[in-house]
């Protein structure tokens, strides 16, 4: 089941990965091969099987509603590629 060029570019857009044509084509081949391989799962009848979406079925643990400030805003901003005072700075969205 081959994945098309359009599908590759669509998925790349969803994943915010800019792919030059050559790379997209190479990926297309590799992804198609992988999708062919995993098709084997269709051989299994899983209609009555409950998916394993979580490691355990116990309930998620809770936190008390207590404030514990992290206390070091500078450390959180220090890795920012671009900042203005205490804001993270990013390019605007370009409307087409």
């Amino acid at each position: 089941m081959a994945i098309t060029r359009e599908e590759v570019q669509h998925v790349a857009r969803l994943a915010r990965l800019s792919l030059p044509e050559a790379e997209a084509e190479r990926l297309r081949g590799q992804l198609s091969a992988l999708l062919d391989y995993v098709k084997q799962l269709d051989r299994l009848d899983t209609r009555d099987v409950v998916p394993t979406s979580h490691a355990t079925e116990t309930g998620t643990p809770f936190r008390d509603d207590v404030v514990e400030p992290f206390g070091d805003r500078e450390a959180l901003l220090a890795n920012a590629p671009d900042r203005k005072n205490d804001f993270f700075r990013v390019p605007r969205i370009i409307e087409d």
């Binding site: 979406s53 979580h54 079925e57 008390d64 509603d65 400030p69 804001f87």
Partner: protein
């Protein structure tokens, strides 16, 4: 062609917990930019979410108060998309298995009651805020403040049961009051703690199938929601009558221009790729927890209105106003407990002094005494108003001020008799005139008595005495 409107409303309510939903940062509004953040809510590598129990409690109580069925097992799911105000590039929300399903809210319309269904209630985290750098449209950058990231949100989705903008407004107001009554949300639309999006479509009257629906956003008050709905309905009807077709899209309400505007955005595939969040286990809510929380639900607006009407014999209109804020209704009842001789007057006073009541600067004693003194004729209505203002400015008790100011009305019968006799004796010509039929002279006598008593005589009683004396 006659048209019918179909409206559904989606409310996002910020829960008033102290800390955020998945981390221990403060969720308070108004902090300095990025001051309420930590590695978890800023999506640093390797961080993990842990669920705030209070946020779950608030959501369960809301579900109970709106007659929803609380699900024993619900699942958090990731909603994946890229935006600078979304640090993990996914929002932790709930998708296929929300916390609550199938409830309702009853509203008053056209003198009757209508039931608006609630499809579901689920929990999710809020995103941050993106502001444009500088004022100019040509600004090249945006600035991200992540304080709001991970503030707990409750999403309440109604059934498309509303048929008019008024019904929409009534549903919103009632839902708002319920949340504020429960203490789960402060309900501040301007600050964004109570947000509403609308879905609206029209169809020819009698048609069963729904028309194409349009999503409306950016309405920051109840009134704006109603106005936006009115305009959008008109737009859709006109479009169809002109032979056009309604396009499924998102439109923003422009409160200045009073129109809805299409969010002309490039056709983005909104593929959120929801899947259960593997960093959180299922939310398990057992019956005993639900029952425990059921016991904490206060009397809700609808019940309170009915009871105030019944118990105090006040008009429904007044009861509705009092019940619009729980604190106001409580104040009314406390005042009526101090003096219950005329609940209607008490209600009027509470409404009149609403701001002070809600600010906490007025006590039930003040209103109770004010109403009692007026009823007993001890003071006039004018004096009452003046005294309450004095209470607010000086903080002294009502009756202390009343006596200090000497505003006690003269209502003593024998004293009034003396006064009246004095005045009548001094105005024989007018007495004859009145007895001859000039009924208007009564106010002359009243005025004279008031002047003589330096305004302290009880005007109503003066009138009665005069009438008796004059025959």
């Amino acid at each position: 062609m006659a048209f019918e409107t179909v409206i559904g409303l989606e409310v996002h309510a910020q829960l008033s917990t102290r800390s955020k939903i998945f981390c221990a940062c403060s969720s308070a509004f108004g902090a300095a930019p990025n001051g309420n953040t930590c590695p978890v809510c800023t999506g640093m590598p390797g961080v993990l979410p842990v669920l705030n129990r209070k946020a779950v409690e608030f959501t369960i109580r809301t579900a109970i108060a709106t007659s929803c069925t609380v699900q024993r097992r619900s699942v958090f799911a990731r909603k994946n998309y890229f935006y600078p105000d979304l640090p993990k590039a996914y929002q932790i929300s709930q998708y296929e298995l929300p916390v609550a399903l199938g409830g309702h809210v009853d509203i008053e319309v056209d003198g009757g009651t209508k039931r608006i269904g609630i499809t579901r209630i689920h929990m999710e985290e809020d995103a941050g805020k993106l502001v444009h750098e500088g004022e100019f449209a040509g600004a090249q950058a945006s600035l991200a403040d992540l304080n709001r990231c991970s503030v707990p949100l409750m999403e309440i989705v109604s059934e498309p049961d509303m048929r008019t903008p008024e019904e929409g407004g009534a549903y919103l107001r009632r839902l708002h009051d319920i949340l504020v009554y429960l203490g789960v949300c402060d309900g501040n639309m301007e600050e964004g703690s109570f947000r509403c999006d609308a879905n609206v479509s029209v169809r020819p009257a009698g048609q069963a199938a729904f028309g194409t629906k349009v999503e409306l956003k950016n309405m920051n008050s109840f009134r704006n929601v109603e106005k936006a709905l009115e305009h959008e309905i008109r737009r859709q009807v006109e479009l169809i009558e002109d032979g056009g077709k309604v396009v499924q899209e998102t439109r923003l309400w422009d409160a200045n221009a009073n129109v809805t505007v299409s969010m002309r955005r490039k056709e983005e595939a909104h593929d959120y790729r929801y899947f259960p969040d593997p960093d959180l286990l299922p939310l398990i809510v057992d019956d005993s927890w639900v029952e425990e929380l059921r016991g904490t639900i206060p009397e809700l607006p609808a019940e309170k209105i009915a009871r105030l009407e019944r118990q105090y014999g006040i008009p429904r209109y007044d009861a509705v106003i009092l019940a619009s804020t729980r604190a106001l209704a409580d104040f009314f009842e406390a005042s009526a407990a101090i003096y219950g001789g005329n609940p209607k007057t008490t209600a009027n006073e509470c409404v009149h002094w609403k701001d002070a009541v809600l600010a906490g600067t007025l006590s039930p004693e003040t209103i109770g005494h004010a109403v009692e003194d007026r009823e007993r004729g001890t003071i006039s209505a004018t004096a009452s108003k003046k005294l309450v203002e004095l209470v607010l400015s000086t903080g002294k008790p009502f009756r202390t001020l009343r006596d200090e100011q000497g505003l006690t009305q003269l209502s003593d019968a024998s004293a009034l008799d003396l006064l009246v006799d004095k005045i009548l004796a001094a105005s024989p010509k007018e007495v004859d005139g009145y007895r001859a039929g000039k009924a208007g002279l009564l106010s002359f006598f009243v005025g004279q008595v008031m002047k003589e008593s330096r305004g302290k005589a009880n005007p109503k009683m003066v009138q009665e005495v005069l009438k008796k004396r004059l025959g």
